[in-house]
């Protein structure tokens, strides 16, 4: 941000990626998370990239009208279930657990898993 930097370095702070003439690349934080989780799982060797690309291509073909990162996340969920890393039932249980935690959290406070089991602090 110092004024002495080459002018085009300021590109790094704003447009191009986060925001371009067509709007933000990630419209919402969950999209960035979904993106990064797939990359991270790939880096940990859960699937190779052609496998990922084919799975994503299949999702896009099957549900062409779904927004891109919804297709992306659905692909990751399906792939992780298929290879047994995160079975469908385990995932859905966790979705419900987060839903319960959110609803038990007063507005404006951080949402923590298991919040709905408070205030009885016993395990």
């Amino acid at each position: 941000m110092s004024a002495s930097k080459p002018a085009c370095d300021t590109l790094l702070q704003s447009p191009g990626l986060e925001v371009n003439e067509d709007g933000p690349v990630f419209a919402e934080p969950w999209e960035a998370k979904a993106f990064a989780m797939a990359v991270s799982c790939h880096e940990r060797g859960l699937f190779d990239w052609p496998t990922w690309a084919n799975a994503l291509g299949a999702t896009i073909k099957a549900e062409p009208d779904l927004p891109y990162y919804k297709q992306w996340l659905a692909t990751l969920e399906r792939l992780l279930a298929d290879i047994g890393t995160v079975p469908e039932t385990e995932r859905l249980d966790r979705v419900n657990a987060w839903d319960r935690a959110a609803k038990a959290t007063p507005h404006g406070e951080p949402i923590v898993l298991g919040r709905d089991r408070e205030p009885h602090h016993h395990d």
């Binding site: 990630f26 991270s40 996340l73 007063p106």
Partner: protein
């Protein structure tokens, strides 16, 4: 999708709207996508496949540091260094990794050079394959079904919509990226850039010019946009 498309209860943010949980506070609400992402993130963290701080760092890298700037540096060097240009044409993967821009999406790169006779343009009809380490994250339109199909069928009118009009005699080649091969367009070096440094030249190289939906900026255009002093 498995989990259905129902909204997990709508509304819920109205103040003074009490629910039956026995709490007197307005509760929080996460929408379906946030819930699904949190579910997966917490499970993958517990299983050791992701590390939340590393995840944030990864997002930061793709958003801020990578950008299309890595690609611009590659193109600027090629413009300035015929040996590097040759290397880029012959083995783009090696040329790009020689500049330390490596990564999962940049592993199999092919550079295609624009000439007065040929303009190159990149699309991924299958799934938006894109050389992230070099170009950062793809723009929204790159992922749109309309771009993916029309770029192949009517590239000239797609280019016109991007404000690019090519001479009649210029052929347009459309390259379909796949999981195995990703393309980087080397735009033509603009006229009047003879004495410019590599660093300044990189300021002329836009992301779109490396996808082929734009041309490199002239120094005047770059100055007008505040990219060059």
């Amino acid at each position: 999708m498995h989990s259905g498309d129902h909204d997990p209860e709508s509304g819920g943010h109205d103040h003074g709207h009490h629910h039956h949980h026995g709490h007197n506070h307005d509760h929080s609400e996460l929408d379906e996508m946030e819930l699904r992402v949190r579910a997966l993130e917490s499970l993958l963290t517990e299983k050791g496949y992701i590390d939340p701080p590393a995840l944030d760092a990864l997002i930061e890298t793709y958003e801020k540091q990578v950008g299309p700037r890595n690609g611009a540096a590659v193109v600027a060097r090629a413009w300035n260094d015929p040996g590097f240009m040759k290397m880029l044409r012959d083995d783009a993967t090696a040329a790009i990794s020689s500049m330390n821009f490596v990564g999962r999406q940049g592993e199999h790169m092919v550079a295609v050079e624009n000439t007065p006779g040929t303009h190159n343009m990149v699309v991924c009809t299958l799934c938006s394959c894109y050389p992230w380490p070099v170009l950062g994250l793809p723009p929204v339109w790159y992922k749109s079904p309309a771009y993916r199909s029309r770029a192949v069928i009517e590239p000239r009118s797609v280019l016109a919509e991007f404000g690019v009009t090519l001479p009649e005699g210029t052929a347009i080649k459309v390259w379909d990226s796949t999981a195995e091969v990703r393309y980087l367009v080397i735009p033509q070096r603009p006229a009047g850039t003879g004495g410019m440094s590599e660093e300044d030249l990189a300021c002329l190289v836009t992301r779109d010019s490396m996808i082929g939906t734009g041309l490199a900026l002239t120094p005047d255009e770059a100055r007008a946009k505040g990219l060059l002093s």
